[in-house]
């Protein structure tokens, strides 16, 4: 009881401190400034995204081109989390039996005919939507992370519906590693040819074309493939985990 009162007092102090520190940033005030003569960082990015890079989605231009090194850090953190999860939990092979003599149960009941037929029809459509989202990342809202998560959700649908649906683990691991390597190699090409890591090539097309923005769509395609295979590996490891044999 005393502990709960102490926790509530601590939380009230934290809440009041946060509220008071946001007094100087009132909601809805224009903090970007003039775009023609930029004085803030946001105005600079909004001015150069359609003029120099010819990219329609300025959030994509910031994530991949202006702050591309942070995206490399994020891809590294995701890779470390997936590797850590795979090394902590053991994954059983496809036909192994559990102790007690009965087969390991992934889905207990057989799904109904409606669910099975619907999943078979929906799965290629979900894959198509995911690939569309990360290929058109520089024209419409979307990008590599969103497309990869949509593809992983499609694989999850098939894992839940069928008892014996399995993906080839080796192919997924190879695809993930090669995509990550391709991203780093593109950055190194910028370092060798132009003098700074992840520098964009000067041939950017017209605004709102499919092939525009230099290297931005290529980088997002590799990130999309990497995130999709990585999240599918995480789900596969979690669903097929088993306790260690003594």
């Amino acid at each position: 009881m005393l502990k709960k009162i102490f926790v509530l007092f601590l939380l009230t102090v934290t809440g009041v401190a946060l509220w008071q520190s946001f007094r100087h940033a009132p909601f809805g005030e224009n903090r970007v400034g003039d775009v023609e003569n930029p004085e803030t960082v946001s105005a600079f990015y909004l001015k150069h995204s359609p003029e120099t890079l010819h990219t329609a989605n300025s959030v994509t231009a910031i994530v991949v081109n202006f702050r591309g090194f942070d995206t490399l850090g994020e891809v590294t953190v995701l890779f470390l989390a997936a590797t850590g999860l795979a090394s902590i939990l053991y994954r059983r092979k496809e036909d192994e039996e559990e102790e007690g003599g009965h087969l390991p149960v992934r889905v207990k009941l057989k799904s109904s005919t409606l669910v099975r037929t619907g999943a078979k029809i929906l799965f290629p459509l979900i894959l198509l939507l995911g690939i569309y989202v990360f290929v058109h990342g520089h024209l419409t809202p979307g990008g590599g992370f969103q497309g990869g998560a949509i593809i992983a959700t499609g694989f999850l649908l098939m894992f839940i519906t069928y008892k014996r649906f399995n993906v080839n683990h080796k192919i997924m691991v190879w695809l993930e590693s090669l995509s990550g390597l391709a991203f780093v190699l593109i950055g190194l090409y910028g370092l060798v040819a132009y003098g700074s890591f992840l520098q964009n090539i000067p041939w950017t097309g017209r605004l709102n074309d499919l092939i525009s923005g230099g290297l931005i769509p290529l980088i997002y395609i590799f990130i999309g493939i990497k995130v999709a295979t990585e999240l599918t590996n995480v789900l596969d490891t979690l669903m097929n985990t088993k306790p260690r044999k003594k």
């Binding site: 009132p26 994530v63 702050r67 995701l78 989390a81 902590i88 809202p141």
Partner: protein, 130 residues
């Protein structure tokens, strides 16, 4: 014109409470669950709610009244004066993915701890060896 200006000032304060207040309240609720609950999965649920609150606070700072999304569609190529701040959105994109990675790693540790100690109560896990 007095009542119109009054309505405008109260409108902005209501929107400020509706966005900043809700985000701070979410951080509050998540932190309470992390500090007080005993079951390990409840602690991770509190961590996930706290992530949501922080991301909402960030995007709320970057909003400008009566402006629109920062995408240059065909026909709106010189509307750069009326766009919302794009930098907080790029930062929150990274933060959401990293929050999911931290949750997945924490849950794998929970499963492993349960299998070894046969309990999910944090007050009974008192041996430091794995």
């Amino acid at each position: 014109m007095n009542s119109f200006q009054e309505v405008f000032i109260r409108y902005r304060e209501l929107m400020e409470i509706a966005v900043y207040g809700v985000a701070i309240l979410l951080i509050f609720i998540g932190l309470y669950a992390v500090l007080t609950k005993k079951h390990l999965v409840k602690v991770v649920i509190g961590l996930s709610i706290m992530d949501a609150g922080v991301n909402l606070l960030f995007v709320g700072v970057g909003y400008i009244t009566n402006h629109t999304a920062p995408i240059f569609s065909p026909g709106y190529e010189d509307a750069a004066d009326k766009m919302v701040d794009p930098v907080p959105q790029a930062l929150v994109l990274t933060a959401i993915v990293i929050g999911f990675a931290v949750t997945a790693l924490a849950l794998s540790l929970v499963i492993r701890l349960y299998r070894h100690h046969k309990t999910a109560n944090i007050e009974q896990l008192n041996s430091l060896r794995w």
